[in-house]
Symmetry: C2
Amino acid sequence: MLLSVLQANAVVLDVEANLWTIDDAAKRAADAGADLLLTPELFPVGYAPLRVRAELDPAKLPAIRERLADIARRNRIGMVYSLPAEADGYNSGGSPDWYISATLIDATGAELLTYAKVHLFGGEERQAFVAAAQPPAVVDFHGIRTSLLICYDIEFPEAARAAAGRGAELLLVPTALSAGYDAVPQVLIRARALESQLNVAYANHCGAEDVYEFGGGSVVAGPDGGLLAQAGDTPALLFAETGPEAVRAARDKVPYLRERRPGLYREWEENLPREAGDSGDSEA
Amino acid sequence: MLLSVLQANAVVLDVEANLWTIDDAAKRAADAGADLLLTPELFPVGYAPLRVRAELDPAKLPAIRERLADIARRNRIGMVYSLPAEADGYNSGGSPDWYISATLIDATGAELLTYAKVHLFGGEERQAFVAAAQPPAVVDFHGIRTSLLICYDIEFPEAARAAAGRGAELLLVPTALSAGYDAVPQVLIRARALESQLNVAYANHCGAEDVYEFGGGSVVAGPDGGLLAQAGDTPALLFAETGPEAVRAARDKVPYLRERRPGLYREWEENLPREAGDSGDSEA
């Protein structure tokens, strides 16, 4: 399965411009034989949580989704896109809460998988969105068991483990990572791929959007922890072959997933001493 | 706290030669002002699970421990050493099972902390040793909350999380990593330090021992995922300053440990679909 990864600069709330960027990338990716195009977090609306929440009319979301499905259909390529999505609850103003979501569609535009971000990053995301609670699900895409996470999620090994435990061989991760955090793609993404023995593709923005400066550095990591493709800090379209063979070979060589001891980990977590200063929930 | 890390070649079952190597390193480390010397997995007896199990008389272990305590005392330096240790159970021949253990002693030779390896690697380790089940404990050492893991343990993010959850700011890891696995120190150790926001020191063998060829590559990683020190593939004595300040700064910058969602992870793990092909215990 030939995967392509779009790294680009979105224009905040200029949906037409952003869809044009995606359409152009989809055409180039399909021309190169790619089966799938992964795009960055919230790319069609731009990454600007407070402005998007304040200024985007949610009634327009279904039409944006239809436009994205049409891009997939016209270019005959699968796609992962990320948009706000309405949640079940309501905020203090009586409006529906929003998740940050990601959606995998096939080359006919049909939805195969959706995911809502579980780990929100920073105060502005928390003001604009609510965190979801469902684990990443897995679907077969071109013979590869495929799953989704979003941005900060993948920095937590537990999130990738949840996908791997459900059989994922490929994790597709739209992101919006600020400049200056190169260790995330260069260390954490490679580690997630190696320790959970799957391919991880990580598609970032580059350049300025609203008050944010994005560093690019999009990558595709293989299950041996190596990089199959990586971008600099400017717009790029990456390609990587991500079949299940490398996943199986890695899992045969060092069986991390089989040699985990989940019963022990659960017991250890339940028996955390209360006095531990930095033990997470104790400070929450 | 100035930490030193010994990377060296042990001689299998030549305890005198190996203690000489440790004593020499302890002297050099103490002369350089180090407070602690970390040594590789099973270094005093050499890394050779089957030969060590078959040929080492366990009645000699207390005297080896006393010699190591004496090295610490004479050189006025704390030390982490790794040795076989008797477990509670018995093997099919009626002999006590052995763990692979690690021990932290202070500069007076007093034991501060012990740990027994939870994740055994490969068939020979499993023939010679049994896997332990206790989580890593934490003690204060020169003002730093310090914990121990051994080799394969640290490749599992869950093991480092267990130490971090108990307050660890410094993880000391004796290892015996075969040549050809450079991604372990270069990717996984850096990721453990970054995602659980602590210092990780990883002390490996180099050269041949029994049938094994070790690649060296010992490292000290900081809580920003950067390397504070790294060795090549030949004998080395590394030094790194590992105070708690960098840990606190990292935890203030991106609060991974506070923003984990352990309740969700537990729920996700309990609700793993049975049909997931590579979900770990289902194949065990």
